[in-house]
């Protein structure tokens, strides 16, 4: 089987109907996830988390705490998986890498003048290389939304391709910042550009702009991934980020993932949640399932 990656003409519109996609997305929330399906789903969601701290006030101490938490989510519940990755600024990559040691948890670094992306390309490339040289396994870049909205699709494409090259072995997550793209048509187009330009992941948001990830936006991106897969044979991973803080919502996302891309994507190589407070809510749900009693946040550590 030979599948080629003929690059489509991005000026040609791809249509997404807003009402239709939102209806479809809401259908996933009607699935009733119970018993073993629920426990398996919660475990999987936990294992898909990119535990994130992206604050100006981040310190090495804070990052170390987060890395400890990542490895000891809730010691009262033996047999829990770890999260997938820790997501930090480039300056914190070294700290995180050291703290995580050989736990198997990846270090992801945002780069390319995150979150605005308003910097010259050479600085973005240096930012990326700095992160990778410090040990980042994954790079979360932002696209130049201004250029994209101007219709400078080639610029956006070339920039992603350049960052991909700078990443070397690190996997590249391309953040579309869907809250700034506004329409689903544009989200779809940006997804296509990112995938054809070399993204390993496409990611919804920085978490700095509202709205961040939503189910319909994620669905548009999952459908783009599916079409890309059928055209090229290449799997692309997906990362919704921001706004997913409740385990029930995370389960809805997993239902959506499972019904859109199928079993092949149901692991943390191909799907991540970018979240900071989701882990504790999942832990509370798991403890509730285990003990039969509703839980209090006071019994789960905040790091």
């Amino acid at each position: 089987m030979i599948l080629t990656k003929t690059i489509p003409d991005f000026a040609t519109p791809v249509h997404v109907d807003q009402v239709g996609i939102e209806e479809r997305a809401s259908r996933f929330t009607k699935r009733s996830i119970k018993n073993e399906t629920k426990i398996n789903g919660l475990m999987l969601a936990l294992n898909m988390i990119d535990l994130t701290t992206l604050e100006g006030k981040d310190t090495e101490g804070k990052v170390k705490q987060l890395c400890y938490k990542a490895q000891h989510l809730h010691d009262a519940y033996p047999g829990l998986p770890t999260v997938a990755a820790i997501c930090v600024y480039p300056s914190m990559v070294k700290t995180a890498k050291t703290a995580l040691g050989n736990s198997g948890i990846k270090v992801a670094s945002v780069a390319t003048a995150f979150p605005s992306g308003q910097a010259p390309r050479d600085i973005k490339i240096r930012d990326t290389k700095f992160a990778v040289q410090n040990g980042a396994d994954e790079v979360d870049m932002v696209i130049s939304r201004g250029k994209f909205l101007e219709g400078e699709y080639n610029f956006v494409f070339d920039e992603i391709a350049a960052i991909k090259e700078a990443c070397g072995e690190a996997r590249l997550k391309v953040i579309l910042e869907t809250g700034e793209l506004v329409t689903y048509d544009k989200v779809r187009k940006a997804s296509d550009i990112a995938m054809y330009a070399g993204a390993d992941f496409i990611k919804t948001s920085t978490g700095k702009i509202s709205p961040a990830a939503t189910m319909p936006v994620t669905l548009v991106m999952l459908e783009a991934i599916r079409d890309f897969y059928y055209k090229t044979g290449k799997k692309i991973a997906m990362k919704p980020a921001g706004g997913i803080s409740k385990s029930k919502l995370a389960l809805h996302y997993l239902v959506m993932l499972n019904e859109t891309l199928g079993e092949g994507w149901m692991n943390n190589e191909w799907f991540r949640f970018g979240a900071s407070s989701l882990a504790n809510d999942i832990l509370m749900q798991l403890m509730k399932q285990k003990t039969g009693v509703y839980q209090s946040a006071n019994y789960f550590t905040i790091d």
Binding site: M1, L3, G20, I21, R24, G233, E263
Partner: protein
């Protein structure tokens, strides 16, 4: 994509998406009596016929209850009670008071929504998600909508006054039992008529539950009479001399029989009959939403929908992509226990209907069409059919011409707008149609030229109490829903 290999063998796997832990709705939240009598003149009365028949759960083939079988004498009683109620009470009641009774029914359905949903699913086999999220709320909304018309009829018809017709005989099908009862009863009452309603013999329970509500709502006795039975009971209603109006929803075949039966009378009639809707996807359509619309169009309620989008026309340049997407989507549909909250496709309503569907599936294969079914497992007991699509279909194939009333889709490709309009209209039916394109001017070209009563553009199978529904050609005449639905139950006077 000229360089793409000839045969793309990539395939996504969805088995785990279908295998969710059971999430059954509880039967205990609904009360079903072992036996139901006829609701005549405000009371449940034993049938003169002394006969009862069993109603079963098509998902398990277990008996749910025994239902009274009304004979001609029972029909006579019901019509007499409706006539008396019309003459003595309902016709004379101030319209605003009529409205309040109808509002009351709407509210009581809302209060007992969960019970109605459970019974609807047990009796008819439709997924609980649909009964809960569609059938029951839409039925309540229908009463709520028409209640408000009762004292505003003067505004509905320019330069005319209205008067009720009298006694309406209403015969409804088994695919949306409660909802069809609401579609029939609500406008009839709002316009000042009284009613004798017969639900389909397979699915009488929710109509009888509605009778309980009507009783609780203190509606004057005889304004609504609900009698049960099969074709002979229906015929007795159609042929009753003291009925002024027949409202029928069901097959075109029976609709024609009714049209002939009342030919020598002054009975008015509205008929909502069969369909073979064309759903048309152009190459500039939002394809994933179109596919979702196609799925919803043909698999909603197991395809037991007169307006189901059972013929799919896809423009050639996107044909392969659409079929692939459809197949993937088919794999994610959960077929099985209708009471499970995750079920997308429940049980076929009856053994007889399953036989008809299977017959057509066989015909489709014999005609040379290529069949694709979901790989899902189906329960051993009960009446089930895998969601099925046919490609390589010719317009002349029976599966593309005849109403199957099941989860079976016939797909054809087309090249030009004119070609697809011609093919879409090439049917004795004209109930509904679907158009998928991003181009507004094309939508209006299509919606104008398609000869059907409901056109869904970039959507499908949407219903609303305010929105008139009904067919062209052999799909019947008259409208239900909205302002236009009032015409079915009034005489206009100068």
């Amino acid at each position: 994509m000229a360089k793409v290999a000839k045969k793309n063998t990539l395939k996504l796997k969805f088995d785990s998406a279908r295998n969710l832990a059971p999430a059954p709705e509880s039967k205990r939240a609904a009360k079903i009596d072992p036996q139901y009598d006829l609701f005549i003149n405000g009371k449940f009365e034993k049938p003169v016929s002394k006969k009862y028949f069993a109603t079963i759960n098509p998902a398990t083939e277990e008996k749910l209850s025994m239902i009274a079988e009304a004979n001609t004498a029972d029909v006579n009683k019901a019509v007499k009670s409706a006539r008396t109620a019309y003459d003595k009470t309902w016709k004379k009641m101030p319209p605003a008071e009529r409205a309040k009774y109808i509002y009351r029914i709407a509210r009581m359905i809302q209060e007992r929504a969960r019970e109605f949903a459970i019974i609807e699913t047990l009796d008819g086999g439709k997924p609980i998600r649909e009964s809960r999220d569609f059938d029951v709320p839409t039925a309540a909304n229908h009463f709520f909508y028409y209640a408000g018309w009762a004292d505003k009829l003067e505004y509905a018809f320019p330069n005319r006054k209205t008067e009720p017709l009298g006694v309406a005989g209403q015969i409804i099908p088994w695919n949306f039992p409660l909802l069809m009862a609401a579609w029939k009863i609500a406008p009839a009452l709002a316009c000042g008529n009284t009613v004798v309603l017969k639900p389909a013999e397979n699915t009488s329970l929710t109509a009888l539950k509605l009778a309980e509500i009507i009783q609780e709502a203190d509606l004057p006795p005889g304004v609504v009479n609900i009698i049960t039975g099969a074709g002979a009971t229906g015929a007795a209603i159609v042929n009753h001399a003291d009925i002024n109006k027949i409202a029928f929803t069901g097959s075109t075949e029976v609709g024609k029989i009714i049209q002939r039966a009342i030919a020598g009378t002054n009975k008015k009639a509205t008929l909502e009959l069969g369909g073979k809707a064309a759903n048309i996807i152009f190459d500039d359509a939002p394809l994933d939403q179109a596919v979702e619309g196609v799925i919803n169009g043909i698999f909603f309620n197991q395809g037991h929908v007169c307006c189901a989008g059972s013929r799919l026309y896809v423009q050639e340049s996107v044909f392969a992509a659409v079929v692939r997407k459809l197949k993937d989507r088919l794999e994610t549909l959960i077929v099985g226990d209708p009471m499970d909250k995750n079920t997308d496709i429940g049980a076929i309503n009856s053994k007889a209907q399953l036989d008809i569907i299977n017959k057509y599936i066989k015909i489709g294969q014999q005609e040379g069409a290529e069949m694709y079914q979901s790989s899902c497992a189906i329960p051993k007991k009960g009446f089930y059919c895998r969601p099925t699509i046919f490609t390589n279909v010719a317009q002349s194939n029976r599966i593309a011409q005849e109403e199957i009333f099941g989860p079976v889709l016939a797909i054809q490709s087309f090249r030009t707008d004119d070609e697809v309009i011609e093919k879409a209209n090439n049917s004795p039916y004209g109930l509904s149609a679907g158009v998928w394109t991003d181009k507004g001017s094309k939508i209006f070209n299509l919606t104008t030229k398609l000869r059907a009563g409901v056109i869904w553009a970039n959507t499908f199978n949407k219903f609303d109490p305010t929105s008139p529904f009904g067919g062209y050609k052999e799909s019947g005449y008259g409208r239900e829903g909205g302002l236009h639905g009032l015409s079915a139950y009034i005489n206009l006077i100068k």
